[in-house]
Amino acid sequence: MYVKRRRGALPAGTPAPDFSLRSTPDQWLNLSDFRGQNVVLAFYPADWSPICGDQMTLYNEILEDFHSFNAELMGISVDGAWCHAAFARDRKLHFPLLADFEPKGAVAREYGAYRDKDGVSERALFVIDDEGIVQWSYVSPIAVNPGAGGILSALENLQNRKKKKNK
C-alpha cells in the first residue's frame, strides 16, 4: 500500500506557496505583494521563548542587513494576532509577525514545516527570491535557535548569482 512519506521543508527551486495571513489584529499580508523583493520567512514554534536566546529578538537586530539584500523578514508561528502584537511590543520588534492561526498551521503545512505531534511549526527558514521561488531552506532542531548566518549567506549567494546573470 502506498504510504505517504513525511514531507520535509520545501527545497530550493520550489515556487513558494502564496498565503494571506494576519500581520496585526486588523491587517492582512500576502506573500505575493512582495514580488520584486526577496523574502525571508522564519517559522518558529511560539512567541515568548526565553529572551536572550530568542530567534526573533536576534533577527530584529539585523534588519538593516536583510534590507541591504533587498529582503523583507517575516516571522510566522501559530500564535494569534493579539499574542503576536503583545510579543512584538514587549521585544520591540520592527518586522511583521504572521499568525498562522486559523486553520491552525495551514501555511506551515504547505511549506513542510509543521510538527503534527506538537501542534506548532518547526524552526524552519526559507529564503524566497524576487520571483517567488524558494532559494534556500533549512530546518533547525526545534530546541536550537539557528541564528542568522545561514540566511545571510543564502542572500549573499543569491545576490552574487544575480550579478553574474546580469553581466
Binding site: P11, C52, D54, L58, V127, V134, G147
Partner: protein
C-alpha cells in the same frame, strides 16, 4: 539543508587573533569564545561558569570575549560594550568587563563614568570616546562576525571553533574543551 551550496552555520568564522580580548595564553591548547552582552541576565549568570572553566584549565585555555549587544531589548548594552572597549584603549578591558558584569543593574552612562574613575582611567578621554562613538564600529564588527558564525542569542559559546549547544555546566564544557584541544 537544501539549496545554495553548503553553508556551515555553526562554525566560528572569525578566527581568534591579537585583535581579540583574550584571557590566558595566546597559544593555549583550547579556546573558549563567548559572544556576550553586559546587560543580558543570562550572560551575567554564565560569568561564574566562564571563570570556573578558566580556573580549572589554567594555562591550557584561552578565553575570548566578543561583543554581542542586543540593543532593542537591552538599551544599555551598546554603551556598556563600548565602555569596555574604551577601557581597553587604556589597558583595562578585563577590569571593566568584570565590573560591568558585577553591576548589570547599573549601566547608565553616569555609572560607566563612575566605573572608569574607580579603575583609575583617564575619565575625560573615556567619556569623550564613549560619547563620540569611537568604538561603535568595533562593537558592530564583533556583532556581525557573531551573526556570520551562527551566534543565536546571548551568551553563545564556541569551543575550539564550533558553536557549543550542549549543557552549560562545568564538567561537560571542560570535557568538550579537552576533547577537541590542539595536541
Amino acid at each position: 539543508m537544501s539549496g545554495l551550496a553548503g553553508v556551515d552555520i555553526t562554525r566560528l568564522s572569525v578566527p581568534v587573533t591579537r585583535r581579540d580580548h583574550i584571557r590566558g595564553r595566546f597559544d593555549a591548547a583550547s579556546t573558549l569564545v563567548e559572544y556576550g552582552d553586559y546587560e543580558c541576565p543570562a550572560c551575567g549568570a554564565a560569568e561564574p561558569l566562564a571563570q570556573a572553566i578558566q580556573a580549572a584549565l589554567g594555562r591550557q585555555l584561552r578565553f575570548v570575549f566578543r561583543n554581542f549587544p542586543l540593543t532593542n531589548i537591552h538599551p544599555h548594552a551598546e554603551h556598556a560594550a563600548e565602555a569596555a572597549e574604551a577601557a581597553d584603549a587604556q589597558k583595562s578591558f578585563w577590569e571593566m568587563h568584570d565590573t560591568l558584569f558585577q553591576n548589570q543593574m547599573a549601566l547608565e552612562d553616569e555609572d560607566l563614568a563612575r566605573y572608569a574613575v574607580a579603575l583609575g582611567l583617564d575619565v575625560d578621554r573615556f567619556i569623550e570616546e564613549l560619547m563620540s562613538g569611537v568604538y561603535t564600529p568595533r562593537v558592530r564588527e564583533d556583532f556581525r562576525g557573531g551573526i556570520k558564525s551562527g551566534v543565536n542569542g546571548t551568551p553563545t559559546f564556541f569551543i575550539n571553533g564550533f558553536r557549543y549547544d550542549g549543557p552549560r555546566d562545568l564538567e561537560t564544557m571542560i570535557k568538550a574543551l579537552r576533547k577537541t584541544a590542539n595536541e
